[in-house]
């Protein structure tokens, strides 16, 4: 005879459907968070390898013995070499190294040709664009450049034809030593001056680089730029970590919650079953059967998602363990609920809530809608706690995602703020900076694809400034060892400040509204009779050793400065408004002008500027700056520095070529930073997009959760309100109870979320041992209101769903 199996829970399709949906969503959220973290890790690693090379160690100027040792090392997966043949010359001065690289090196270096091809025959050369910039040459192929190389006949200068151009890689690599700045084909006729060997150990043996002992005191230098340490609490990972934890906690709570709600609804049936002899063993078996049915879809999703997401085995195992733990906890909680139902059928009542909780009500107090709301929350405390916890964790996840979004957006803007090109006029033989022809300025500014353009005239170290009380100046009383201060005649030292002219009204507004002493008089300033001085208090940081250099910089805040950073803090007070200053250039020409005003507040704070490396920002890196009109220089609207920002969606290659051609023709110095900038901008653009998607997904999950909670609450609420209505309680009072309850609920969620957010956010930064670099700036901008806006949106959705969820 076929034995009849007991099925009660496990044949309830609706319950199975609910549990399946919850478990499947939990699995997806959990896998998504792991995938996101892994994805970010992988992307960062790939980006670093792309930009800084995939080699993990290098031996610079390697000896032949060590080269053989490393080439033949059994744990080495790949080795590449570069050799140096000589130097690229500009005016008999070396501006870079010329050499070769083997195929393995180019595989590891990930160098992309901007144009042209790699050298195939003798006489061809591929150069970094910065070499062409330094040579004042355009980015054209077939150009001739000279290099000294060593042959068997000694050092000879040879001409090479540019066959390809690469981005500047060598200046960004972690170790800035002896990398070729230009590549030629390997030639037996040329003698290597030095050779580098680049190493990639076999997977799992990365530590071997620390264990290999080389001869002749040579060492393996590690490529620190490609090291990516996974930290789940870093600012970029924290939101995912919290979402992952939320997925686990919510699956436990939500499964138990759903089961609890269902048990409440079927209290009578379960009681009858128990009274008819269904013991705990049978019920547990049935319960396990229920969960096994509900697990079919999640278990199906698990491997498919992992394969699709290409998660590594360990991560997959970790996710499975986490999920199983949460499932076991959920089953245990469900069992407890089943055990608690009494077998005695006589205790059954039709009331939906059967409570045995003893609330502490000391004495009768007049009931108000508020007290009634509080009592209702106390009465349903466990359910409310589950709801508040889940909703708060959702809100915290949203806030943390918003933080990551804001941080990425800030970084995107920060890198977007860097100019793509910096163009500077040459210095003449006397050391005076030349001016750029106005027609060239116009030409550069009108190139299609130029998004923003800055220009000014800035001379550093060209002019010395003298005034009556100069002997009382801080650099005379206490000589400061820094290039702008120089020992003068008769024991009176001299200062060579920055001298600045700005034509842009935007720049003028920025400067002339910040005058602290005196006031701006446009007529006398424009006539060149008067000048403005920038004299903030400054920090002098003395060089600690021979490799270091002394530094001076304007102090942001005198009180905040610490003595361990500044050797001394100075303030120049020997010069006052109305004093006459004599400014002399290197040719001995003198100009006299009166001090019209003095700016004391530091102007070097990048957060005050729309552009990260605004020229104006560069002009105020020194505490001594003279701001004068073009009449003062006896020049008409001079320009010495230009910064160019490109449209981010423009193809930069043709613009680069145009600019480099102009600069090369005009003998202007070009610094091209467009590639580095785009890599960073694109990295953060991608993150902004990911965080925006997560925010949208989380908002959707929040809406679903809240709706579910309100629907669940509605049953109890309706029952209470029906009784109150039968008792003739005014509708507005009933509504007031509902609203108070909603308000208290919301208040608890907001308090808990904000508290958790603050703890997690600052805890994360404390743990990362970092300050919050982007907060000061970003909190001044629109980001500051994004948090209250998000909270308002959440409150809006909450209230709306509460109204919709209520019948």
């Amino acid at each position: 005879m076929k034995r009849h199996k007991f099925h009660y829970y496990s044949r309830n399709k609706k319950l199975i459907l609910y549990l399946t949906a919850i478990l499947a969503v939990s699995v997806l959220i959990l896998l998504f968070t792991l995938y996101s973290q892994y994805h970010i890790y992988e992307i960062t690693k790939d980006e670093n390898e792309k930009w800084y090379g995939s080699w993990q160690g290098v031996v610079v100027d390697v000896s032949s013995e060590n080269e053989d040792l490393l080439q033949e090392h059994e744990l080495m997966e790949k080795t590449g070499t570069t050799g140096i043949y000589g130097n690229i010359l500009s005016d008999d001065r070396s501006i870079g190294l010329v050499g070769y690289g083997d195929t393995q090196f180019f595989d590891m270096a990930n160098l992309d040709l901007v144009k042209g091809h790699w050298p195939k025959k003798e006489g061809e050369i591929v150069v970094e664009s910065q070499i062409l910039d330094q040579l004042r040459k355009s980015y054209d192929l077939q150009l001739k450049i000279s290099a000294t190389v060593q042959t068997t006949e000694g050092h000879v200068t040879k001409d090479f034809t540019v066959c390809g151009i690469i981005d500047n890689y060598s200046s960004t690599w972690a170790i800035q030593r002896d990398f070729p700045n230009a590549f030629i084909a390997q030639s037996p006729g040329l003698i290597e001056q030095s050779k580098n060997i680049y190493l990639i150990p076999q997977k799992g043996y990365e530590n071997i680089l620390n264990e290999i002992h080389l001869e002749k005191n040579q060492e393996i230098l590690e490529n620190t730029a490609i090291e990516v340490n996974y930290n789940p609490f870093s600012t970029s990972n924290l939101s995912y970590t919290v979402i992952g934890l939320f997925a686990i906690v919510s699956s436990i709570l939500l499964v138990s919650y759903t089961f609890f709600q269902w048990t409440r609804k079927h209290y009578k049936e379960i009681q009858i079953l128990k009274s008819l002899g269904a013991d705990h063993k049978i019920l547990i078996k049935d319960l396990l059967h229920l969960y096994s049915k509900s697990m079919i879809l999640p278990l199906f999703i698990f491997p498919i998602s992992c394969l699709w997401m290409k998660l590594p085995g360990q991560m997959y195992l970790f996710a499975v363990i986490l999920f199983l733990i949460s499932l076991v906890l959920s089953i245990l909680l469900s069992m407890i609920q089943v055990f608690r139902i009494p077998e005695n059928i006589n205790t059954y009542t039709e009331a939906i809530l059967i409570r045995t909780r003893r609330l502490s009500v000391k004495q009768y107090k007049k009931m108000s809608p508020f007290r009634m709301a509080i009592r209702n929350i106390r009465w349903n405390l466990k359910r409310k706690i589950v709801q508040i916890l889940l909703t708060s964790s959702l809100l915290v996840s949203l806030l943390l995602t918003l933080t990551s979004f804001n941080e990425s957006r800030f970084m995107e803007n920060y890198y977007n703020g860097f100019s793509d090109f910096l163009i500077q006029a040459e210095y003449d033989s006397q050391g005076n900076i030349k001016t750029i022809d106005p027609s060239i300025v116009t030409k550069l500014s009108s190139i299609q694809g130029v998004n923003y353009f800055e220009s000014l005239y800035l001379s550093s170290g060209q002019f010395s400034v003298a005034w009556n009380d100069q002997s009382q100046a801080v650099f005379n009383k206490d000589f400061i060892d820094y290039p702008i201060f120089q020992i003068g005649d008769k024991g009176i030292n001299q200062v060579f400040p920055n001298v600045l002219y700005v034509s842009s009204s935007r720049f003028k507004d920025r400067i002339f509204t910040d005058i602290d002493e005196g006031s701006f008089n446009e007529d006398t300033f424009n006539s060149g009779e008067e000048v403005i001085l920038y004299l903030p208090a400054f920090c002098y940081s003395e060089a600690k050793n021979e490799l270091d250099a002394s530094q001076i910089y304007p102090l942001d805040n005198k009180e905040d400065s610490t003595n361990n950073v500044c050797t001394e803090i100075y303030e120049e007070n020997s010069i006052k408004v109305g004093d006459e200053v004599t400014i002399q250039n290197r040719d001995g020409q003198q100009h006299q002008a009166k001090v019209q005003g003095i700016i004391r507040r530091p102007l070097n704070d990048s957060s005050k500027y729309d552009y990260t490396d605004s020229l104006l920002l560069q002009a105020f890196t020194l505490p001594y700056t003279v701001i004068a009109s073009d009449s003062f220089f006896e020049l008409e609207d001079p320009v010495s520095h230009i910064s160019i920002w490109l449209d981010s969606d423009m193809n930069k290659a043709p613009i680069e070529e145009t600019i480099s051609t102009i600069c090369s023709n005009e003998g202007l110095q070009l610094i091209n930073k467009s590639t580095e900038k785009r890599i960073e901008v694109e990295k953060y653009e991608r993150r902004v997009l990911i965080y925006a998607i997560i925010t949208a997904l989380l908002t959707f999950v929040s809406v679903m959760f809240l709706y579910y909670f309100f629907k669940q609450d509605d049953l109890v609420r309706m029952q209470r309100n029906e009784i109150l209505s039968q008792l003739g309680i005014q509708r507005r009072k009933i509504r007031a109870i509902d609203n108070y309850e909603l308000g208290i609920h919301l208040f608890c969620i907001l308090c808990l979320s904000i508290l958790l957010y603050v703890i997690l956010f600052f805890g994360s930064h404390y743990q990362m041992n970092s300050v919050v670099p982007w907060m000061d700036s970003s909190f001044n901008s629109i980001n500051m209101i994004s948090y209250p806006l998000l909270i308002l949106l959440f409150v809006g959705i909450y209230v709306l769903l509460a109204k919709i969820g209520r019948k």
Partner: protein
């Protein structure tokens, strides 16, 4: 003596899940003041709907419901709630006590939320009569079914309504408690001169009323006045 409750040709059709179910069909009824009327009938014959209509808990489709000389069918929902507050008390089969409130809080909630004053002396008398003094601080789940129904009766009475509507007040009680509850209702009606309309399907209990009405298919069949 004029009827305190007068229904004329009342019709009520439930829409929705029970689409087209006629709960009341040209239903008419008259109840005299300070009387105890019982309404009996099979399940689904419209007894509870009739009681809810008299209490202003539901809107009817047509007909007239006049309670204490006031026409309920022309009132708004708010006005009906106010009318109920002042003139009608309810007693239900499942007691309808708020589980999260103690007995005293359950009794006082209509007064507290509506900011009305309670007649303390009257309330003490009712509590004494219903033997509820010792359970005032308890929660409903701590009481027996009979005790819970007595709390429900006390809650209806202490507001001094002219009419008490009892919807199967003994349905969830054993025989002994059921008899006690009906006796209490009868006694309250006598002591406080209240009009009681009780719905039941227990013929023995219904017979204890002054008037017994029989309902079938949404109509009061044995329409008689006492």
């Amino acid at each position: 003596m004029d009827a305190i409750v007068k229904l004329q040709n009342v019709n009520k059709v439930y829409k929705g899940v029970t689409k087209g179910t006629k709960a009341l069909k040209d239903c008419s009824l008259e109840v005299k003041p300070s009387s105890f009327t019982s309404i009996i009938g099979k399940s689904g014959c419209g007894k509870s709907t009739l009681l809810n209509a008299i209490g202003g808990l539901i809107e009817v489709d047509s007909g007239s419901i006049c309670v204490k000389g006031t026409e309920l069918t022309t009132m708004t929902r708010g006005e009906r709630a106010a009318f109920r507050r002042n003139h009608i008390g309810f007693i239900f089969q499942f007691f309808n006590l708020l589980q999260e409130l103690t007995v005293i809080e359950n009794l006082m909630i209509p007064f507290d939320l509506n900011q009305q004053r309670v007649d303390k002396e009257f309330m003490d008398g009712v509590l004494q009569y219903l033997e509820l003094q010792d359970v005032l601080k308890k929660f409903p789940y701590e009481l027996s079914g009979g005790e819970q129904q007595r709390v429900s009766i006390a809650r209806a009475i202490i507001r001094k309504p002219s009419i008490i509507l009892a919807d199967e007040p003994t349905g969830n009680l054993d025989r002994k408690n059921a008899k006690q509850v009906v006796s209490l209702l009868r006694e309250c009606q006598r002591l406080y001169s209240q009009t009681i309309i009780m719905v039941t399907h227990d013929m023995d209990l219904a017979k204890k009323a002054d008037t017994m009405q029989y309902m079938e298919d949404g109509q009061v069949m044995s329409y008689e006045t006492t």
